[in-house]
């Protein structure tokens, strides 16, 4: 962390460093969603009542998504003689997904707990918390997923509605590895773009990881229902604990790079405020 400098220059390339650091924080947060519920699950969570099914199903799907992404780039890794590590990661995630799917399939019948008195205004089909659902729809599944989806599927394409998006792309090096066709950057850096395919891989992997975090948030806040036995509350808290911690971690990394980004005319204050608000709201419903 001490390598983070307060000013961006051509030599220190803080934008690419930012991508790698945020990727690390997002990866830690992503896999925390699997580790925490399994190792430190809530006391009222019960395996036989299916409280772990949403986290297992979404984790298996996310593992397969990440494996597919590595498989897409595997040829590049093989040519570079660096395919051992991606194969190890793919093997681990695929095996874990297979085990999760086996336990999901083997536990076809789950028992339901005794009915509880539902809070006022709630039915068994309601979302657990409207506040978190709205917050996550706006931030985690909204703006963050929009930018992450752009980074994954359309790297280098400027979204005109987002202020200073072109500066964000320039700072993170997207114009180097994926200059938009017909643009000034394409004329200047188009011939060099294949040199930066490694940066493109990292940027796209970051986009995918943020999208996967958005999937967890979407599942927990929108797809899980309250339930007549109040099981929705138990299921969502498994997600929210990890989501709030991962959100806080990403906010911390963004804050560390705020000065470096500011020196490149990129103001991260709005990013920090929105992500910190989401992490705060999720944490409020779990830890308060």
């Amino acid at each position: 962390l001490s390598a983070i400098q307060s000013k961006t220059t051509d030599d220190n390339n803080m934008g690419s460093f930012f991508v790698r650091k945020v990727l690390g924080a997002a990866t830690v947060g992503l896999h925390l969603h699997k580790l925490m519920p399994i190792l430190f699950h809530p006391t009222n969570a019960q395996w036989k009542r299916g409280h772990f099914r949403p986290i297992l199903a979404s984790s298996a799907a996310i593992n397969l998504l990440i494996t597919s992404f590595y498989a897409y780039y595997l040829e590049d890794f093989q040519v570079a003689g660096a395919d051992a590590m991606p194969k190890l990661i793919m093997g681990l995630l695929t095996f874990e997904a297979a085990v999760m799917m086996f336990f999901l399939a083997s536990q076809s019948v789950t028992t339901r707990g005794p009915a509880v008195l539902l809070p006022k205004g709630k039915s068994e089909r309601s979302v657990v918390s409207r506040i978190t659902a709205r917050t996550v729809m706006l931030i985690g599944c909204g703006v963050m997923s929009l930018i992450a989806g752009r980074d994954l599927f359309f790297p280098g394409v400027v979204i005109p509605y987002i202020p200073r998006d072109d500066i964000y792309l320039e700072w993170t090096g997207a114009f180097l590895h994926s200059p938009p066709e017909g643009s000034v950057e394409s004329a200047a850096h188009g011939i060099d773009a294949p040199f930066y395919v490694g940066d493109k891989f990292m940027s796209q992997l970051l986009g995918l990881t943020i999208l996967c975090l958005g999937i967890y948030k979407c599942v927990s806040c929108i797809l899980i229902q309250y339930g007549s036995d109040g099981s929705g509350l138990i299921k969502t808290r498994m997600f929210w604990k990890s989501s709030s911690l991962s959100g806080a971690l990403i906010v911390a990394v963004f804050r560390l790079f705020a000065n470096a980004a500011k020196s490149a005319s990129l103001d991260l204050r709005w990013h920090l405020m929105t992500m910190a608000y989401e992490a705060f709201i999720l944490g409020l419903f779990v830890f308060a």
Binding site: N13, A80, M85, I89
Partner: protein, 128 residues
């Protein structure tokens, strides 16, 4: 107390003998906790090993970016993350160049642009 494998624990039996009133309560509570609350051990260990390794790799990227700790395969992965352009070099049929010579331990603007000078001449590529 009923353990995960269904064996009786002698420690809690002693407690139960001293206080028979707690017998049904404790045994019932423990069996619910162990048999119904906990996820299967196979799943726990699988997640611990598989996600644990990838989690540690993520932590490495966060706290010690670029420092390999799983030996040569990790180093090759990290280097390729910065300089995975060798595919492009290979496509230019540059078979006589030793690829590791193109890989530098750290990526800078200099070794990207000056260390590897490309001269496109038809399908040939020369490395300085």
């Amino acid at each position: 107390m009923t353990t995960r494998r269904g064996k009786k624990s002698t420690k809690n039996n002693a407690v139960v003998k001293n206080d028979p009133a707690k017998l049904s309560h404790d045994v019932g509570k423990s069996s619910i906790v162990l048999a119904e609350h906990l996820p299967p051990l196979a799943l726990v260990f699988t997640v611990l090993i598989c996600s644990g390794v990838v989690w540690v790799l993520g932590l490495r990227d966060l706290l010690a970016t670029g420092k390999p700790f799983l030996g040569s395969i990790d180093e090759a992965y990290l280097v390729s993350g910065s300089l995975m352009f060798i595919k492009w070099v290979c496509n230019c049929s540059l078979s006589h160049v030793s690829f590791p010579l193109l890989i530098f331990p750290c990526s800078t603007l200099q070794n990207r642009h000056n260390g590897l000078t490309t001269v496109m001449d038809g399908s040939q590529l020369k490395v300085d």
